[in-house]
Symmetry: C2
Subunit: 274 residues, 2 copies
């Protein structure tokens, strides 16, 4: 029986499960924790989720995700910052040490990517006090460059590390195999971050051929060298969680979530040992 | 009537045109040059293509592309290097100053991306003498990171510039809006390359939403700030060609190539002036 105490199910993986089903599914299999997504949290309720997680003995790896900052207007932009303050409160209430910051791409009609990146930096500065007050870190997740215009204009470990350097306490990076495997500086970025600044690590894989922009492979089925990444994490002394996180319109989201989690556990086991 | 003397039609844009049709289509519209693709060159013949280009008064912006180096076995890998020597000869014969190096992704079954990048570097070293002898530069084109496993493991301007620094004379970078627009170091990479080391510049755009991995937008229809890139190119003193290059399974490849080129000229005109 593998030790799954560092493994968390990132809830988007079992797309069709409710919060209740995800918690029970993890508890029944000895999976240590859960990466919670907001839509399930809102449907089940923050209080009920917190109680259920505690009863089931699961740790909370993270809360996914922040509200996007891709608003052209100042009022909407400010509202997104306020919404993220509220989300930080929810994260604290369910014991999530990290809010995964998916910051959004370009505002509608915009082409100024550097300008939008600067606006996101400003928004993170605005959020920092509340993050520190709640004890929930802003987990800066670089998303694959193919999402730069849509889901996030934060696209490399180097950018995330630079922001952490600038923002300081209350920030960390969220590292993800699918988003970063291609980056010649990925391993260097993990080393630069160090064990305390890697908030959580997303296990998944890059599928070849990739058919669309929502087509992650199951751990081990793709072309990423996950073993090498685990060795880097051990080398730097990372002790945090590993989350199984699959987005997969054409495959894994169509399967029975029980099967997905069973297969996922089997595939992740070699990479999540203490 | 706009000055189209720096504009080249990259031939993949008019996917269904033969070499003959592409040359005549450019000549009829005053488009200055052509970026030739090998499949059309082979079908029409190297000698006939060279003669026709000369008669039509078109310059050759580049030859696309090199043979990939994604072979696991040493014999096949060596054969790919030999094939690229032959392709360099063809490039010289049609007056192409640059062979666009699309170096391939990972070999089948492989997961060692850093190792494959090192193999590609070795292959480029092997090709360098022949490139210098033919007078055709190895045009190192960073491809978007979403192609790292498939079409090319060379994925950023920084990587291409590093390789040029190492390889020296006989190398240059090929810059492409679609591949590089997201990169926070794209403009810095163009400045680092300088005017003599940017071999050619591909005009295209990043479509939002992007539907698959072959879904470029027409110049101006996407989210890239092409005007800002042109200002950087002017600032560094770039005097080379601009190629209209669209890959588009769902849209532009389905349209009448005459219309695609007409629209492309109209869209590119503001960005290709002397």
């Amino acid at each position: 029986m593998p030790d799954l105490s560092r493994l968390a199910l990132n809830q988007i993986t079992t797309y069709r499960w409710t919060m209740d089903q995800a918690i029970e599914g993890c508890a029944a299999r000895g999976v240590g924790g859960i990466g919670v997504w907001r839509q399930y949290l809102e449907a089940y309720g923050v209080g009920q989720t917190a109680r259920h997680l505690k009863e089931a003995g699961l740790f909370t790896a993270s809360l996914c995700t922040s509200a996007w900052f891709n608003h052209a207007g100042d009022a909407e932009f400010k509202a997104a910052i306020d919404e993220n303050r509220r989300i930080l409160d929810d994260a604290a209430a369910i014991g999530a040490p990290t809010l995964v910051m998916v910051v959004g791409g370009l505002p509608p009609g915009a082409k100024d990517l550097a300008g939008q990146r600067a606006r996101v930096r400003d928004a993170l500065h605005e959020l920092l006090d509340h993050a520190r007050a709640t004890g929930v870190r802003l987990g800066l997740e670089p998303l694959h460059p193919m999402y730069a215009g849509s889901r996030s204009c934060l696209n490399t470990m180097a950018m995330a590390n630079d922001l952490c350097d600038e923002l300081g306490e209350g920030t960390a990076v969220v590292a993800d195999v699918y988003h970063c495997w291609w980056d010649p500086e990925f391993e260097a970025g993990l080393r630069r971050a160090g064990p305390d600044r890697v908030a959580t690590f997303h296990l998944c894989d890059w599928r070849e051929p990739t058919r669309n922009l929502c087509d992650r492979a199951m751990v081990g089925d793709g072309v990423a060298d996950i073993g090498a990444l685990r060795r880097v994490l051990d080398d730097i002394g990372y002790k945090g969680p590993f989350e199984l996180e699959l987005f997969s319109e054409l495959d894994w989201w169509r399967r029975d979530p029980d099967d997905v989690l069973d297969i996922g556990i089997e595939r992740c086991a070699p990479y999540v040992m203490r």
